[in-house]
């Protein structure tokens, strides 16, 4: 009786269990419901037996059943664990099943992600990272707003100040809690023979304190070390130098090191992560500013007021902003420059000097010549590498689409059996994510090698590049972001596509049909068109950069660098009187000229390395309007050594001595700039006063051909050559140019031997001329090499993509082709049927790609030499290359189509 009553009664608690059961993972649901229902019913039965099934106990049952909700919630992680694990396991199984697909996919992703990560890593190191010091955002660089009033010697390419200006800033500024100046130099460590240069960092006393750097060993430079006339103060060495030179010897403090023939006592080692103030260059040694007099053998760097070699950095006082600091610096500028004006400053520049203004700029990421030179190319390369990755993604999407069509029946079956669409999409995304994760992991590893390779590519023996390429959160985040993005890019479309189909229709179709529907390929075709368009952009870029490099390499320099060796000889240790140095230089050159194999040798400025300029005017013209002229100091036989043709007049000869009238030889650009192209021989030319010399008049005795002076990219500039032999005194060193028939190695050995015979205390360093010139176009070489590599990769990927879709088309049209052939279609017709498709796809790609090229190549125009970014020859070449590749990609599928046997094709029906 009771039982039947209970069955008909509506029991809210059991109903609640039914509802809550919906959220219990399917695997546990039956058991879960069963247990809760059994407990509730059992309790209900007992209560009924005891006649205590009153409303209070019913409420209690309801309360108990509602606590099943918490139980169900606790089971939720199981759902995810379960399904994720299931998805992952299934994904791994699918990837292992198609090993070749997986390999291709992972490798192409690894290449794409690796290239992107490598370039990003360089950008991160060059641009985004801050100096490894506490609170780097507080650091500011004090700079002159313009260098118009600056005259004298310049030691770095970025704006610098003189020691006089620094001392005024130090004494007058209020904006910084600490400020310091730093400069660089490369003194010699060797005590004779070939030079061994060390990278020296000169720091004013407060530097380490301002930067808040603690020593790794011993102590660092303090204000007590840095005062005029400090003699040989304590030397601080870098951590790397400590490791390489002293094998990390813990007892290094107190030992002596000879720098530029002066013994210095080592007082400490900087921490491992401190690489100096310049990103891209590390340092070996650090000395207080005052020591520069001892190392250089004179105190011009500190006293002249015309040597521009220091960068001033300060740490903002608490509560000060960069703008406030600038306002403050501007306000103290007039008095400051007034006080810093050197006594014998060139009168023409005094006003500009006094009008100079100081400003504060953020310096948390240090200064970097590398950054100035490479930031733009690196961003461009990152964009290019990004495009390559995009093409790779399009390729993978196409492969996955093809694979998804093959798996249509599997998915239809799973949907028919109750799998939800979301679940299927998730399954496919998990597979894509697995691929992306594998690709990213491999790519991150690859990037480590690639970025180091790039740094090695850009480093030269004379300019080694040091970059901290450790993985930081930015690089890791970038790689992980790329992985997720690529996964969505190539995985989402196929996943949505394949689950869109009506399961019934797919099952009925049974994978057969005369001709696969056209619109069913539209997405694949679209992807191929995008690939072709993007590849065209990259190929065009590659062609442009390669042609630009080629133009630079074959540009007429005006001289012949082949077989020329440059040497810098130093002989301070001989302690010759200054007036003897000139004669000694001549003697050295004479001894070198008679070395067997040496064709010519001369003292003289080395183009691309030794620059100098001045202002001047033709005698009789307005001296108030001087024009810029580049200056070269050359010895006898200089033009013969570099094979620069003499066009008119004479070369310097033994008659040009210190007491004879000053003579000049000029180039064609000079005669064009000053004499409207007239023959300059016999004219007189004034060179404006410099901090060291008054206005001086020269007679022009010769005219030579134009040569490049400091850069392959430059227009020919006016050059005036003056005779080294007319200097009454000169420094104890010489820059030599030696042309020889024999190998450079032999010449180096012979010159070293000769110098050693003259005096073992002479030091010398060599550099081949041609590689030195080529090092100046490293940026162009980098762009050409990498864009070429990426262009090739893009072509290859586009080729594979095209091949893929065409072969897939042929495979799914086998029936149609069979019927066509059975009805009498000739092989050529079938061949062209397929090849035409390849052709049309590429033409569509070109139509899409060209407007993109016109839009984006503008960005690269500043990196091109002698070419417009829309250079018709380059673009035609790129388009032809694209077409040729398309035809190659289309050939095999087209051939395969002609081999379809109509009988076999139709038997499947």
């Amino acid at each position: 009786m009771k039982d039947s009553r209970q069955k008909t009664r509506f029991r809210f608690w059991l109903w609640l269990i039914q509802i809550i059961g919906v959220i219990v993972p399917r695997r546990f649901r039956a058991d879960w419901q069963h247990e809760w229902e059994a407990e509730l019913q059992h309790r209900e039965l007992i209560l009924a037996d005891w006649d205590r099934l009153n409303w209070r106990n019913k409420l209690d049952l309801l309360r108990r059943s509602s606590s099943a909700f918490w139980d169900a919630l606790w089971l939720q992680p199981k759902r995810w664990e379960d399904e994720m694990f299931q998805d992952l396991r299934f994904g791994v199984r699918m990837l292992l099943k198609n090993k070749s697909f997986t390999t291709v996919a992972v490798l192409s992703l690894a290449l794409g992600i690796g290239a992107n990560t490598a370039i990003f890593q360089l950008l991160d190191a060059v641009r985004l990272r801050t100096l490894p010091v506490p609170a780097p955002h507080e650091l500011a660089e004090v700079r002159m707003t313009n260098m118009k009033g600056a005259r004298g010697g310049f030691f770095r390419t970025d704006p610098t100040v003189t020691n006089q200006i620094w001392e005024q800033i130090r004494d007058r500024q209020q904006a910084f809690s600490g400020a310091f100046a730093w400069g660089t130099d490369t003194p010699n460590l060797a005590q004779g023979g070939e030079v061994r240069l060390a990278r020296m960092l000169y720091l004013s006393g407060d530097a380490f304190n301002t930067l808040r750097i603690q020593p790794a060993l011993g102590r660092l430079i303090t204000t007590a070390d840095d005062h005029r006339g400090c003699g040989a103060p304590g030397l601080v060495i870098s951590h790397t130098f400590w490791q390489s030179e002293f094998g990390s010897d813990a007892d290094v403090v107190g030992r002596k090191l000879t720098v530029a023939d002066q013994p210095f006592e080592i007082i400490g080692v900087t921490p491992a992560n401190f690489f100096g103030m310049e990103v891209g260059r590390s340092f070996d040694l650090a000395l207080p500013l005052c020591a520069v007099s001892l190392v250089r053998g004179n105190n011009r760097m500190l006293e002249s007021g015309t040597n521009w070699w220091l960068t001033v950095t300060g740490r903002l006082k608490h509560g000060w902003t960069m703008d406030q600091a600038t306002v403050h610096l501007q306000s103290i500028s007039p008095e400051l420059f007034e006080a810093a004006l050197p006594a014998k400053y060139p009168p023409a520049s005094v006003k500009d000097y006094l009008d100079s203004k100081l400003t504060a700029l953020p310096a948390g990421s240090g200064v970097s010549q590398l950054r100035q030179e490479y930031e733009q190319p690196l961003w461009l390369l990152l964009a290019i590498a990004g495009l390559v990755l995009l093409i790779a993604c399009a390729n993978l999407a196409n492969l996955l689409l093809a694979r998804a069509s093959a798996r249509e029946r599997e998915f239809a079956l799973r949907q028919a059996l109750g799998a939800s669409r979301a679940r299927l999409i998730r399954q496919l995304i998990v597979e894509s994510l697995l691929l992306a994760a594998l690709g990213a992991a491999l790519g991150a590893g690859l990037a480590q090698a690639l970025s180091r390779l790039l740094v090695a590519f850009l480093s030269t023996s004379n300019n080694p590049i040091f970059l901290d390429l450790g993985l930081d959160w930015r690089v890791l985040g970038f790689t992980a972001g790329l992985a997720v993005l690529t996964c969505l890019l190539f995985g989402l479309a196929p996943a949505i596509r394949v689950t869109q189909k009506e399961p019934g229709a797919v099952m009925k179709l049974g994978g057969r049909g005369l001709t696969a529907g056209r619109q069913r390929f539209s997405l694949q075709r679209g992807l191929v068109v995008v690939q072709v368009a993007l590849s065209l952009v990259l190929v065009a870029g590659a062609v442009l950069f390669s042609r630009s490099l080629d133009k630079l390499l074959t540009v007429d320099t005006g001289f012949n660098p082949e077989g020329v060796l440059t040497a810098v000889v130093r002989f301070q240790r001989l302690n010759l009187p200054p007036d003897r140095n000139v004669v000694f230089q001549d003697e050295l050159v004479e001894r070198i000229r008679v070395i067997p194999g040496v064709e010519a040798a001369s003292v003289g400025s080395t183009p691309f390395r030794d620059w100098g300029g001045g202002k001047g005017w033709m005698d009789g013209q307005d001296s108030k309007q001087p024009k810029n002229v580049s200056l070269s100091r050359v010895g006898s036989d200089y033009f013969n050594t570099l094979q620069i043709p003499l066009l008119a007049g004479r070369d310097f000869n033994s008659g040009d001595r210190p007491n004879s009238p000053n003579v000049l030889i000029v180039n064609e650009a000079f005669s064009k700039a000053f004499l409207q192209g007239a023959n300059p021989v016999g004219h007189r030319f004034w060179i404006a006063a410099t901090p060291g010399d008054p206005d001086t008049v020269y007679e022009i005795v010769g005219l030579v051909r134009n040569t490049k002076y400091e850069d392959l990219r430059e227009e020919f500039q006016p050059i005036a050559y003056y005779a080294a032999a007319q200097d009454s005194e000169t420094g104890a060193g010489a820059s030599l140019l030696i042309r020889s028939r024999v190998s450079q190695g032999e010449t180096v050995a012979a010159v070293k031997r000769v110098l050693n015979e003259i005096n073992p205390a002479i030091t010398v360093s060599f550099q081949e001329f041609k590689p030195m010139i080529e090092a100046t176009i490293m940026r162009e070489r980098l762009m050409a090499t990498l864009s070429g590599f990426f262009g090739l990769l893009a072509l290859l990927l586009a080729c594979v993509g095209l091949y893929g879709i065409l072969s897939y088309g042929v495979a799914s049209r086998t029936n149609e082709i069979g019927i066509r052939m059975a009805l009498g279609a000739r092989k050529e017709t079938v061949f062209w049927l397929i090849l035409r498709e390849a052709f049309l796809l590429v033409v569509a790609g070109l139509v899409v790609g060209f407007p993109v090229i016109f839009a984006v190549t503008r960005l690269a125009s500043s990196l091109l030499f002698g070419l417009s970014p829309t250079d018709p020859i380059s673009l035609t070449l790129a388009a032809l290359l694209m077409l040729a590749v398309a035809m190659v990609a289309g050939y095999i599928p087209s051939r395969r189509a002609t081999r379809v046997d109509p009988l076999i094709a139709l038997r499947y029906e």
Binding site: D3, D31, H34, E35, E37, A38, E39, Q41, H42, R43, L45, I46, L47, R64, S67, A68, F69, W70, D71, W74, L75
Partner: protein
């Protein structure tokens, strides 16, 4: 809950193991005897089972069919469970006296 190293289980889990050990084998009985809410007891039972401290079985259909009602699920201590309980009781001494005391009889069970 006692997911980690053997022997480290929570106070609630100890109380549950203790009540199973004392012969209260069903979820609702354990709720009654421990005074813990159902939303705590059931998840704890599942974890303890996952960790191998408890096993569960369905009661014989003969019993449930007599009522008739669905078969109930009952829990039993494993050897591991007994060890863990012994360990835990050393830590949670406060539970110890309850063992010897006469526990308030819950609503009768028919198991």
């Amino acid at each position: 809950m006692g997911r980690g190293a053997k022997g480290f289980i929570s106070y609630a889990a100890t109380a549950i193991l203790q009540s199973v050990n004392a012969g209260y084998l069903y979820g609702f009985d354990i709720i009654d005897v421990t005074g813990l809410p159902g939303g705590t007891v059931y998840p704890a039972l599942r974890r303890l089972e996952e960790n191998g401290y408890l096993t569960s079985q369905w009661e014989h259909p003969k019993i449930s069919q007599a009522e008739p009602r669905p078969a109930r699920k009952y829990y039993e201590l494993t050897r591991d469970g007994r060890e863990v309980l012994a360990e835990a009781l050393k830590r949670y001494r406060i539970l110890e006296p309850r063992r010897s005391k006469k526990v308030r009889q819950p609503k009768p069970s028919r198991a």
